[in-house]
Amino acid sequence: MTSKSESSYIQSALLSDPPCRADGRALLDYRALRLTTGVAALANGSARLTLGGTTILAACKLEIEDIEHAIDATDGRRISCAVSCSPAAYPHHAPAALDELQHDLAHLLNAALAHAALRPANLTVLPGRKAWLLSLDCVVLADAGNVHDALFLAARAALCDTRVPVTRPVEYRTPLHAGGVRGDGDDDSMGMGMGVDTDGAGLDTRHAAHAADFELADYWSEGAALEGWDRWPVCVTLNLISTTHFLDATPQEEAAVSLRLLLLISCAPAGPPTLHGTRLIGSGELPPAQFKSLVQDSLTYAKELKKTLDAQMHSERARRQSGVLR
C-alpha cells in the first residue's frame, strides 16, 4: 500500500520535465526480459518469463477431446487458459481476493487466446470427431508490477514452444476369408472390405475416408509446432497519468496511477497490426482524443515488444538445440 505522499511524489516525478522514475528508466523503457523455454518436462510446451521482478511460468498440455458427442457443436481445436496466482506472490491478499485476481487474469487470457479465429489448424486429429484440446496454464510466481504484459508474453512463448504430436487416421478392416468371393470392388468403409492389397492384414492406414481411430505417426518425435504462431498477440499496458503515459510500471507506480489501458496487439508480417482486445481499467476518465492517440502509439510499442520476445525465443531455441545447460 502506498501512502498519499508517496503517490504524489511518484506522480510529480513522472510529470516533471524531464520525467524521472525510481529506477532511472525512461517513460517508455521496459525492464530486462529473460525467457527460458522447456522448463516443464512433462508439458508439451512451456516457458518461464521474467520481466524485471515479475515471474510467470506458462505451460501447455494437449489432450484428446471427443467433439462428435459434445453438447455444443464446435469444431474442436480449443484453447483453454487458466491462471493461478501463487500466494507467495501476493502475501497481503486474502484468499478470496486471490481467487478473484486469478479469475480476472484468466478471463483476459481466454477472451484473447481462446477466440475462434486463433484456433490452430493442426490441432485436428479426426475431422469432426476428435481434436486436441490445448490447456494453457500460467502461474504467477512473483509480481513486481506489469503482470498483464508478462502474462501474455509468457503465454505466447509457451504456445510457440508447443509441439503437437503428429497423428494419422486409422481404419480397421476385417481380413479376406479363405475361399471368399470377391465383390465388385466397391466395399463399404468399415465392414467386409477387401482391398486388393490388404494381404490379410487387418490394418490399412492408407485410405482412411471414414477413419475410426488415430495413431501416433512417430512415437519418439516431439511433433510439429503449432500453426499460426505469428497471430498470437502481445499485451501493452499503458499507464495513464494526466496527459502522458508510461510503460512497465513497478508496484509503487501502479498504485500511484489511477487509469490503465490494456491493448492486445498482434503484428503479422503482412498487413496492418490487429487488436485482439482492449480494456480500460481504473477509476479515472479518459478523453476520447487521448484514447485515439494512445491506440496509435501502442502499435509501435507492440512491434518492439514482439521483436524482443521473438529474438529471445530464437536464442532459446538455438541454445536448446546446441544442448547448452542453463
Binding site: 478471463h107 477509476s283 496509435q296
Partner: protein, 258 residues
Amino acid sequence: MASFDRRRINGPEESRPPVFDDEIDSSPSNLTTREGRSPKDIRPIFLTPGLISQANGSAYIETEKTKIACAVYGPRQIKNAPYNEVGKLNVEVKFAPFSCTRRRAPMRDAEDRSTGVLIHQALVPSLRLELLPKSCIDVFITILENDGLEGCVASGSVAASTALADAGIEMFGLVTSCAGITMEKDIWLDPTAEEATQARGCFTLACMPALGAITSVWQTGQMTADEIIQCTEECQARCKDIHDVVATALLNSRSTKG
C-alpha cells in the same frame, strides 16, 4: 458429484435441449445486410426508474430481447472491514436461469463475475466515491433475458447508472454505453446475439456524454486500430442519444413522484 445440488431436484447428469422443427429448417444465415434496421440504428430503449420499492434506487431497461432489472442499495456502512477513505462500489450481476437459450446454473459462475467487472469499470469513474468514506454502494443487476453479452453489458451499465441517479448518489455525469461490431466492411451498432457471433470484432464503449469522457472500453475479436477509432466515434454519437432517453426517464419519474 459435478453439479449435485442438495437444495434442488437434480435432473439427469447429461441432458440436451430439444431441437424444434423450425430450428432445423432455418439454418444460420450469413448476414451480409442487416435485417430490420440500418447499421447505425440502435434498438428502441424502454427505461423506467423506481421499479423496486425496497431499494434506494432501481431501474428496469428493455431493448427488444434484452431485459435487465437493476437495484441499488447504499450508501451503507461496511461492517468488519478496515477503514477505507473512498467508498466502494460492488456490482453483482446474475443471469437468471431462464435468460439464455441453454439453462444456466442458479449458482454464481464465471461469466457473472466478468460481466460484473465490466459494468463496475463503466460506473466507477462517474461516481463521487471520495464523498463516501467507510461506505459501500451495492448494485445488483439481474438479467432476465439475454441477447448477446455485449448488449447485456451496455444495457446493464445504462440501467445501473439510472438506478444510481434514482438513488440520489452524487456523480459527475450519467454513464451511457453502446456496443458495436465490425462486419466485413461496415460497423453495426447494438448487435443482437446472432450478429455478434458472426462478427469479426466486438467493441463496447461506456462514456459520460455530459463531460465527453470515456469510462470503459472493452474490445474482443480482431479489429484494426482505424476500426477501433471509427467505432469509438460512432458509439459516442449514439451514447449522446441514449443520454437523452435516460435523462427524460429520470425527469418523468421524479415529476410523477412529486
